[in-house]
């Protein structure tokens, strides 16, 4: 990475880290401006500051958590549309076209429609949510998302009483997504689903940014779901369609391996994956000789969400 930077800045042998930092912020700010239509002057005036650093912190945000370094979060992505490893999506995802972007909301709603991303973002004030993020592969991180409540967006479409489930669909862009192009592994586009009460829960958000900046493409730009009490694969990236349904949708991983990845996928240390334990997790950014973290039921959000599953056998509905 350092070598690349030197190449990109002609005439300088050594890159001042500050310059590098500003350059990155600038590129991001410019991308954000294109996306959100923010005036270019605001971006230039204070280029060292991330664009959304001033958004209010949600009361749901866990301020006491130590945030995982952005570098780790941006270089470790399960984004199977681009690659099956976690390192390549960072570069491969840059070809994704995210502007213009619209989200279609339909199904069991009074007011179906297609909404431009700019309109959605201007109508739903952004907040910062510092959440734990637990992958089904037994690693975790703490991410400061910038987003808004999914429930609030759904309400604008006026869900009917018949709406019991929510189906979210990722973008289908095979020309920029290699694994969609060659039908790699999963059925594309990626689909995820929630029960309506899960989707309406205030913890469930759509994120447009993280670390005070717009979402990097490999992390799900321009808009992704974040459901902090469920395994990471539920938090679908690059959302283009939201449908409210009478019946539960079949999610991509559930379809691929129904005995391994359930519809609920709630974080639960007592229900192991058929092939590995979910009892503990490796927190990214924690060094060698640091023990793994004990995984918490509902990823530590039990107080807020346990009532949703009160009468359910969590071993059966995994």
């Amino acid at each position: 990475m350092i070598i690349k930077t030197i190449k990109n800045i002609p005439g300088s042998e050594i890159t001042d880290p500050l310059v590098f930092q500003q350059r990155r912020t600038l590129i991001k700010a410019m991308a954000a401006m294109m996306l959100t239509g923010t005036s270019i002057r605001t971006g230039w005036a204070d280029s060292s500051k991330p664009i959304w650093s001033a958004v209010p912190k949600s009361r749901l945000s866990a301020h006491e958590l130590v945030v995982t370094p952005a570098d780790a979060t941006e270089n470790y992505n399960n984004y199977y549309e681009f690659a099956f490893n976690k390192e390549d999506p960072r570069s491969l995802a840059q070809s994704l076209r995210v502007d213009p972007w619209s989200v279609e909301i339909g199904g069991e709603v009074e007011k179906p429609g297609t909404y431009q991303l700019e309109d959605i973002l201007s109508q739903h004030p952004l907040q910062e949510y510092i959440y734990r993020f637990r992958c089904v592969e037994a690693w975790s991180m703490v991410v400061p998302w910038v987003g808004f409540s999914l429930g609030d967006l759904l309400k604008t479409a006026k869900p009917l009483s018949s709406a019991k489930f929510v189906k979210l669909t990722s973008v289908h862009q095979p020309d920029s997504m290699p694994k969609q192009r060659n039908n790699g592994m999963l059925d594309w586009p990626y689909v995820e689903g929630l029960r309506i009460d899960e989707a309406m829960h205030p913890l469930t958000i759509l994120a447009a940014g993280m670390y005070g900046n717009i979402l990097p493409k490999q992390n799900g730009a321009p808009l992704r779901l974040v459901v902090p009490w469920k395994y990471g694969f539920k938090s679908i990236k690059a959302v283009v369609k939201i449908e409210l349904l009478k019946r539960p949708p079949i999610s991509s991983w559930n379809k691929f391996a129904p005995n391994e990845y359930g519809f609920y996928a709630n974080v639960n240390p007592d229900v192991p994956h058929p092939r590995w334990s979910q009892n503990s997790e490796r927190l990214l950014g924690s060094g060698f000789f640091t023990p793994r973290r004990q995984t918490e039921l509902f990823n530590g959000y039990g107080e807020q969400v346990a009532h949703l599953y009160r009468d359910m056998d969590l071993r059966h509905f995994f």
Partner: protein, 213 residues
Amino acid sequence: MIMQINNLRSLTIAVCFIPLLWVVFDIAFDNLGSNQMQALHIRLGDWALRFLWITLAITPVQTVTKWRGMTEYRQLFGLYAFFYASLHVLVYLAVDQVFAWRIIGIDILESSYIWFGLIAYIIVFSLGITSSKASKKLLGKSWKKLHRFIYIAAGAAMIHYFWQLKGNLAEPLFYLLLIFMLLGFRAVIWFKNKQLSQMMIPKGRASTDTESD
């Protein structure tokens, strides 16, 4: 001549330490990526597997090239498989879990992919500590029987590899293909020898021979 062979042997011993130096280098320069713990497990596990495969490749190579004197290299590579597998296990216990035995216990109990890794390691460990010429003499006929368990170790290591993945099977499939070739070679030789011995031995005795097999 002897000097040359000794040089080659020393060179081999040194070269086989390169993967370890490489890992140490990557740790020192923070090159292991976002999930360095996982990366370390994969790196050491990969090298244990590779050396096990190299060990299993010696016999076919010897048969094809007719170069005798590779037996000691088979032992050498086998010991390196043992060495890297031991590091792999040690890193899991000491660096990752930091000897938190309760969590280790649950982890092993609930993770079937670890069972296969454990089976492979127990075998590689047993073969490693009985690899010397002295134990070969001591164990006599049973030494060969014991060391045939390497095939089971290879199978268990393969399952250990496959079983922990979420879906991307390209890399383990490559190793699976290699092990099929290595074991397939042996099967072909075994089958040919059997055919040959059947042709040599009068019919009446051949049938009793196969029964006693």
